[in-house]
C-alpha cells in the first residue's frame, strides 16, 4: 500500500537540508514501527519518494513524501501513521495528513507540477519602491527574461509562462510557480526579476519564504489543472 504523507517544516529545523530530512524520515518511520517496504540487495533502503526539495532556510506548510508499507493491519491506517510519526518527530516537523494513494498514481517526485509560496521581507530589508504599482507593471510584460547560471554557462530563460499567479497583499507576495523538473522557478528568481525591472537591488538574505503547497497537474500540457498533491488519494 502506498501512502502520501504531507508535512510542515518550520522553526529551527528549517536549516536541515533536503537529504537530511529524508534521513530524518527514514529513521522516524523505523521509530514509529511502521512496516515500510525495502528494496532488496545488500544495502536495502526504504521505498520512499519526496516531492520537490526545499531549500535550506525555507519553511513549508506543504511538503510531501510517499512511502510504501507492507502491512498495516490496524483500522484507520492513515490516522495511525500520522499519530505515530508525530509522536516520534521533533518540534518543527509535523505530519498534517496521510492518504492512501491509488495504485496507478505517479510518485510524489514525478508528480510535481507547481508550488505556491508566501514571501515576506525581513524587517529593515524592504525595498523603497511601491510594490503594488511595480508589480502591476511587471505583470504586464510579455517576457520576463532572466539569466540562469548553468553548468554549461549562462542561459536566458523566460519566466513569464511559469508564473501562474503573483500578488502582493498584506506585506507579502503570494506566488504560484512552475515547479516541474523542466521549468522549475524559484521564488527568489521572481523577486530578483521584479527588482531588476524597477531598479531596486535585493538585499542579502532579505526574504522570508514559506512554501505553502505543492501541486500536480491533472489536466494536460496545454490545459493545466493544478490540484494539491494530497488531493490524489483517499
Amino acid at each position: 500500500m502506498k501512502l502520501r504523507i504531507k508535512f510542515r517544516k518550520f522553526g529551527p529545523v528549517r536549516y536541515i537540508g533536503h537529504l537530511d530530512v529524508m534521513r530524518f524520515f527514514q529513521k522516524a518511520i523505523r521509530r514509529a514501527g511502521i512496516d515500510v517496504a525495502y528494496t532488496s540487495g545488500f544495502s536495502p533502503h526504504q521505498v520512499m519518494s519526496f516531492a520537490a526539495p526545499l531549500g535550506v532556510g525555507l519553511t513549508s506548510n506543504g511538503e510531501y513524501m510517499d512511502i510504501e508499507v507492507c502491512s498495516a493491519d490496524f483500522p484507520d491506517v492513515c490516522g495511525e501513521v500520522k499519530r505515530r510519526l508525530n509522536e516520534v518527530s521533533v518540534p518543527g516537523i509535523e505530519v498534517i495528513s496521510v492518504k492512501v494513494l491509488p495504485k496507478d498514481a505517479g510518485n510524489a517526485m514525478a508528480s510535481v507540477a507547481a508550488a505556491s509560496y508566501t514571501v515576506r521581507f525581513r524587517e529593515g530589508r524592504e525595498p523603497a519602491v511601491h510594490l503594488t504599482e511595480a508589480l502591476a507593471e511587471f505583470m504586464k510584460k510579455e517576457q520576463i527574461l532572466i539569466t540562469k547560471e548553468t553548468k554549461k554557462g549562462q542561459r536566458e530563460v523566460d519566466l513569464k509562462a511559469g508564473i501562474y499567479q503573483l500578488t502582493w497583499e498584506n506585506d507579502a507576495f503570494y506566488m504560484l510557480l512552475d515547479a516541474s523538473s523542466g521549468g522549475n522557478i524559484k521564488p527568489v528568481q521572481v523577486i530578483q526579476a521584479l527588482f531588476a525591472d524597477c531598479g531596486e537591488t535585493l538585499q542579502e538574505n532579505a526574504l522570508l519564504i514559506t512554501r505553502e503547497e505543492v501541486y500536480t497537474n491533472i489536466g494536460t500540457q496545454e490545459d493545466i489543472k493544478l490540484v494539491p498533491l494530497d488531493e490524489i488519494g483517499i
Partner: protein
C-alpha cells in the same frame, strides 16, 4: 504580530525579530543563538541548532545545576563519541541537573563569533556556556588541546584557571588524556580521573552544598580535591632539576592527597547506558547504535594505553546487551548497529550475541558492523553473513613486521595466523586486505621494517596460491598497508621509551616504501603513511609536564587550533613556540627515561603498578611475551579493584 524574545544579552542580528514575525509556531524554545544571516552563510548550520531527536530539554526553573558537556572537535566527530552519550544520559537522569552538549564551532563560524562577539552556547538551550555551573570537556587526543582553549575563549571564560572568578563555570577535564593532565594543568579547575559513572553525583552534591553555604570557588575546589578520583592541579606544585627532569611533585596544602586513584565502574552491566541516544540530523562519523559489550582488554600489547587504562576487563551481561540493542534501535531508528570494545573477539558471549543480532537485524533491515574482530573461521563466517564480501575488506593489525618485534610489543598475532586467516578469507571471496603497522617501535631494526613488505607480499602470494585463476572475480587482490608512527604513552610499558625524531620516522617510511616496491607482488600492494610532524608533537604533549601549558597557550594565541586536522596543523608554529618557551622537543621525546625518573603522571594511580610496567618494559627488551589475562594473570595490580577478569577462572 511581533514576538519579542529575551535572549541573555546577546547582540541581536539584524532582522532576527522579523524572522519570527509572520512565521507560525514560533515560540520561546525556537530561539537560536545564531541569527538567520549567520546560519544562512555558514557551512552545515545543522551543527549548531540543536533540536535533534532524543536531545534533552528541561525546564530551567526546575533544575539546580547546569552542566555543559563538551567534545572539543567538530560536531560530526564529537557526536560520534559514546562516552559523552553515556554521561549525557547519566546527568540528565538526575532530576536536579540539566546536561547540554557543546562542540567546537568550525572555522567559518569561529571567525563570525569572534567578529560579532557572540559567546559560545550549548546546543539544547542555546544559552551561553558562561552561564553554566560546569563545563566538562572530554579530552580524547593530544592534538585537540588547542581546541580546548578555543572553547574557553569563545565562551568568555579566562584561559587560566587561577584567573577565573566565582561566576565562571567550573571547568572539568575527563577522558584518556587526563592520565597525564599536566600539560593542561593551568587551564582546568579540576580533572576527573577515570570512568565517569561513579563520582559525578558526589561532586555535584558538594558543589550545591558549597553554593548554598556561600563558599568561594577555591574552597569548593579544595574540598573537591579530597574526593576520590578528583585532581585539582592548583593545589599541587612541581619543581625541576637542572637537567629539566622533575625533582618533586607534591600537594601544597595539608589534606590534599598525594596520589589520585582512578575511578572505575565495578559493575558495567548495572550502570548508566543511554537507551535513547541523541540522533543527529546530519550524517556523523558514528551514525549507528553502539553497544559497548565490555570495557578493557585482556591483551596487554605494550604500546597500547587503552589496554592498561581500562583494566581489568569487565564484560557486560549478554542478555542485557540483547535487550539494549532492541531498545536502542527502536528509540533511534538507526539502520545500523555496531559493537564497541577494544577487542570484540575476546567477549565470551560473542557467538550468542551475534546470532541474536543477525536474526533480529535481518528482520528489521538493520546492518551490523563488527570492528576489531580477529580474523578466523568464526569471524569470517559471521562477516560473510553481515556484509557484502565483494565490497568489504579484511583488517589485520600485526603492528610490527617481524615475529621478533611482535614479541617485543607483545602483539600475539603470528604470521601463520595471518596467512591462514587470509587464505580462508580469499577462499570465501574476499579480495581486499588492510594491514596496519607502526613504525618507530622500540628495538625496531631495518629487518623488521622489511618484514612489513615481506608479510604483505606473502599475503598477496597466498591469494594467488589459494584462488585459481578462473575464480578470481576481479582478477586481483588489493592489499593496503598503512603505517602510523609510534608515540609512547603514559601508563604503558613503553612510557620510558625513546621516540623517533621526524627524520628517523621519514627514513623508516621511505624504507617501508622501497621494500614494498622490491616485492614480487608489489603491484597488489598500496602503501599509505601518516605525516611525521604531528606525531612528534603528539609525543611531546603525551608525556609532557606543566611547562607545556605555556606552549599550548601561545600556539593558540598565535591562531592555532584544529591541530588534529592535518590541513590546519602548523608544525613550524609549534616548533618556534617550543623554542620561545625554552623547551626542547627532544627532551620530551628523543631520550629513554631512566626507571627512577619522576614522571609527570606518577601521582596518578591507574590500577596497574609501576613495578608491573617496568617488568613488562624489561621483558620487552628481552623479547619475551606475556600471556593475556584470560590465560594467566600477570599480577598487574588491577585486581585490587575487586572486579572483572581477575576473579574469573583461567582457561
Amino acid at each position: 504580530m511581533k514576538i519579542l524574545k529575551k535572549d541573555g544579552g546577546r547582540i541581536k542580528g539584524p532582522g532576527e525579530n522579523a524572522a519570527a514575525n509572520g512565521m507560525r509556531n514560533q515560540c520561546m524554545e525556537d530561539r537560536l543563538a545564531l541569527s538567520d544571516d549567520i546560519l544562512m552563510k555558514i557551512e552545515k548550520p545543522e551543527r549548531y541548532i540543536g533540536h535533534e531527536v532524543n536531545s534533552v530539554v528541561k525546564d530551567k526553573g526546575k533544575i539546580k545545576v547546569r552542566f555543559a558537556m563538551c567534545f572539543p572537535d567538530v560536531y560530526e566527530i564529537g557526536m560520534s563519541h559514546l562516552g559523552i552519550q553515556i554521561l549525557y544520559d547519566m546527568f540528565n537522569s538526575m532530576e536536579d541537573v540539566w546536561c547540554e552538549r557543546v562542540y567546537s564551532p568550525w572555522l567559518d563560524l569561529d571567525a563570525v563569533m569572534r567578529e560579532k562577539k557572540i559567546p559560545l552556547f550549548a546546543l539544547e538551550s542555546q544559552d551561553p556556556v558562561r552561564e553554566f555551573d560546569f563545563l566538562g570537556i572530554t579530552i580524547q587526543y593530544e592534538m585537540c588541546y588547542t581546541n580546548i582553549l578555543q572553547i574557553l575563549d569563545l565562551s568568555g571564560i579566562p584561559l587560566m584557571a587561577l584567573e577565573r572568578g566565582d561566576d565562571c563555570p567550573i571547568v572539568i577535564g575527563g577522558g584518556p588524556c587526563t592520565y597525564n593532565p599536566e600539560p593542561l594543568a593551568d587551564f582546568f579547575d579540576l580533572f576527573y580521573i577515570g570512568e565517569g559513572e561513579t563520582r559525578y553525583r558526589d561532586l555535584i552534591d558538594l558543589y550545591q552544598e558549597c553554593r548554598s553555604g556561600g563558599l568561594k570557588r577555591r574552597e569548593f575546589l579544595r574540598r573537591a580535591a579530597k574526593l576520590p578520583g578528583i585532581y585539582v592541579p592548583q593545589f599541587y606544585e612541581t619543581t625541576y632539576n637542572e637537567d629539566g627532569t622533575i625533582r618533586s611533585f607534591s600537594p601544597v596544602e595539608d589534606g590534599i592527597p598525594a596520589v589520585v586513584q582512578k575511578e572505575i565502574e565495578l559493575n558495567v552491566t548495572d550502570t548508566y547506558y543511554p537507551m535513547k541516544p541523541v540522533v543527529p540530523f546530519i550524517k556523523v562519523t558514528q551514525d549507528r547504535v553502539v553497544l559497548e559489550i565490555q570495557r578493557g582488554c585482556i591483551r596487554g600489547c605494550r604500546f597500547c594505553q587503552a589496554g592498561q587504562l581500562y583494566r581489568p576487563v569487565r564484560e557486560r551481561d549478554v542478555d542485557t546487551m540483547k535487550k539494549y540493542a532492541l531498545e536502542m534501535l527502536k528509540n533511534t531508528g538507526h539502520e545500523e548497529i555496531s559493537l564497541s570494545s577494544l577487542s570484540s573477539s575476546d567477549y565470551s558471549k560473542l557467538p550468542e550475541l551475534i546470532d541474536f543480532l543477525i536474526e533480529e537485524c535481518s528482520r528489521q533491515h538493520v546492518n551490523i558492523s563488527l570492528p576489531s574482530l580477529r580474523i578466523d573461521a568464526f569471524s569470517l563466517d559471521v562477516m560473510s553473513k553481515v556484509q557484502d564480501v565483494k565490497k568489504s575488506s579484511l583488517t589485520f593489525a600485526p603492528e610490527a613486521g617481524s615475529q621478533r618485534l611482535r614479541n617485543v610489543i607483545n602483539k600475539g598475532l603470528t604470521e601463520e595466523a595471518i596467512l591462514n586467516g587470509a587464505a580462508l578469507a580469499f577462499e570465501g571471496g574476499w579480495t581486499r586486505v588492510k594491514l596496519y603497522f607502526m613504525l618507530g617501535l622500540p628495538m625496531e631494526t631495518p629487518e623488521d621494517i622489511r618484514g612489513i613488505a615481506e608479510l604483505s607480499n606473502k599475503i598477496a602470494a597466498t591469494f594467488f596460491d589459494t584462488v585459481p585463476k578462473e575464480k578470481r572475480t576481479n582478477g586481483k587482490v588489493q592489499i593496503v598497508v598503512s603505517t602510523s608512527f609510534f608515540v609512547p604513552k603514559p601508563f604503558t610499558p613503553f612510557q620510558w621509551a625513546k621516540q623517533c625524531t621526524k627524520e628517523e620516522f621519514l627514513e623508516k617510511a621511505y624504507l617501508t616504501r622501497t621494500s614494498i616496491s622490491d616485492q614480487l607482488n608489489q603491484k597488489s600492494i598500496k602503501y599509505n603513511w601518516h605525516e611525521a610532524d604531528a606525531s612528534v608533537m603528539e609525543g611531546v604533549l603525551a608525556r609532557g609536564d606543566r611547562r607545556l601549558g605555556e606552549v599550548i597557550r601561545k600556539v593558540y594565541e598565535k591562531g592555532g587550533f584544529y591541530d588534529a586536522w592535518s590541513e590546519y596543523y602548523d608544525n613550524e608554529r609549534w616548533l618556534k613556540t617550543m623554542e620561545e618557551c625554552g623547551l626542547s622537543v627532544d627532551f620530551y621525546t628523543h631520550r629513554e627515561r631512566p626507571a627512577d625518573e619522576i614522571l609527570p603522571w606518577d601521582f596518578i594511580d591507574c590500577g596497574v603498578t609501576k613495578e608491573f610496567l617496568l617488568r613488562e618494559w624489561e621483558k620487552a627488551k628481552r623479547e619475551e611475551t606475556s600471556e593475556n589475562c584470560k590465560i594467566k594473570c600477570q599480577g598487574c595490580g588491577a585486581s585490587r579493584f575487586g572486579c572483572g577478569i581477575c576473579f574469573e577462572p583461567r582457561t
